[in-house]
Amino acid sequence: MRLVAEKLAGERGGETLFSDLDFTVAAGEALLVTGPNGAGKSTLLRIIAGLLARSAGSLRVVEGSENSDEVAQLAHYLGHLNAMKPVLSIEENLEFWRAFNGAGKRSVIAALDKVGLGDIAHLPFGYLSTGQKRRASIARLLVSDRPLWLLDEPTAGLDKASELQFAGLMQEHLGNGGIVIAATHLPLGLEVAGELRLGASA
């Protein structure tokens, strides 16, 4: 499968941030969206996730010869916020998202083990440090299987070891035929990744 964007344009508050954006990301490929602050990296990700309306252009998923507009239901979105409730335990939080987004192959505990939080799954999410919270919310990507990962500054708050481990998880996802689109200004440690530079032409 491929994600194809043609003549994509996005605006925020009436101001056009980018326009005539063409890119194609195929299964197993990663695309890094880079650019200075305010270039529209987050806006682009939110447009792909269907949370913002695009001002022009088209966005579709091509599977064989079939075209689909329903990008959002194939995507995981990891934004700046963790989408977890501090009063619920880590396990309860993830069990909810697993049930709500559709159960994947991995169990919640297996996913938490992947990010090194398996031992404290019973603790309230609010007790965790910033980095632990981020890792718990990365585990959300693992409990439901979605081919397209939309990551907005995914490594914010992570230490070196966790960054490395997260790079491993992304590599595994790509190896299974997934797609990663990440807005970042840090190298994510991926072996091969295309780069989309926003704001350079403007």
Partner: protein, 255 residues
């Protein structure tokens, strides 16, 4: 000089939650046993007491109603002292004491209102009248609930302790004002029903069981209060341990 040192020494000893826990562990069984004996005695004496010529057996509600009403006020006084302990002396147990006392006080106040209502039903012909005394106790009940809601709403015990202490003190200063204005409001409106204790002094045959019951329920209060304080300390330790567990788990991710 040395005396003052030893005095403060003891004072601080007692403030140590661990010391308090062992003290509570020793004294609680005895206190509970004593409470049981006095309450059983008081109950037996109450059963033996003669019925009132006007009110019949309903007068016996008095034997629990009056202790409940007395405790509802005593508990608030204890919470006020604890509030002073938090704000002035910064005693570490004061906040635990206030937090543990609030629900017990609220329950006793509710019981006072309910028993009062049961007692009054045959006389007033209705479950509730906005009589000055009842209304004041009802306002006290609302204040208890407000304090409980405040202690529950804040996660951080240190922050909630000071806020609760300030609210408790303001409430305590307000009690005479509330009482005065409720009395004034009530006489202004000339209540529809008149409720008097018969105007007569209570006979000794009723007073003795009442006194024993009051002592018994006061002991019950202290037993419950100590138990609740112990639970609160345990609860805080569990929370602290869970936070430590979260920190220790950060031994780096498994590759």
């Amino acid at each position: 000089m040395s005396e003052t040192v030893s005095k403060t020494g003891r004072w601080i000893d007692w403030a140590n939650p661990t010391r308090f826990m062992s003290f509570a562990g020793v004294i609680l069984p005895w206190l509970a046993g004593l409470t049981l004996i006095v309450l059983a005695g008081g109950l037996w004496m109450s059963m033996q007491a003669p019925d009132d010529y006007q009110q019949g057996a309903t007068v016996k509600i008095m034997f629990i109603h009056v202790p409940f009403a007395w405790l509802s006020m005593m508990c608030y006084t204890i919470m006020t002292i604890a509030a002073l302990g938090t704000l002035v002396w910064r005693h570490p147990l004061a906040d635990v004491s206030a937090k543990a006392a609030a629900p017990i006080g609220a329950v006793f106040t509710a019981l006072a209102l309910i028993t009062g209502s049961l007692w009054g039903k045959p006389m007033w012909g209705t479950w509730w009248v906005w009589d000055a005394r009842l209304t004041s106790v009802f306002v006290l009940f609302l204040m208890y609930l407000g304090i409980i809601a405040l202690t529950r709403a804040m996660d951080d015990p240190a922050k909630s302790a000071r806020a609760t202490a300030i609210l408790t003190l303001v409430g305590f200063i307000n009690i005479p004002i509330i009482k005065f204005s409720v009395d004034w409001w009530n006489t202004l409106h000339q209540p529809a029903s008149v409720f008097r204790m018969g105007g007569s002094t209570i006979d000794g045959s009723l007073l003795r069981p009442l006194l024993v019951m009051a002592i018994g329920f006061t002991l019950l209060f202290f037993t419950l209060h100590l138990m609740a304080m112990r639970n609160e300390i345990w609860r805080r330790r569990v929370v602290a341990m869970r936070r430590v567990a979260a920190r220790n788990a950060d031994r780096g991710p498994v590759q």
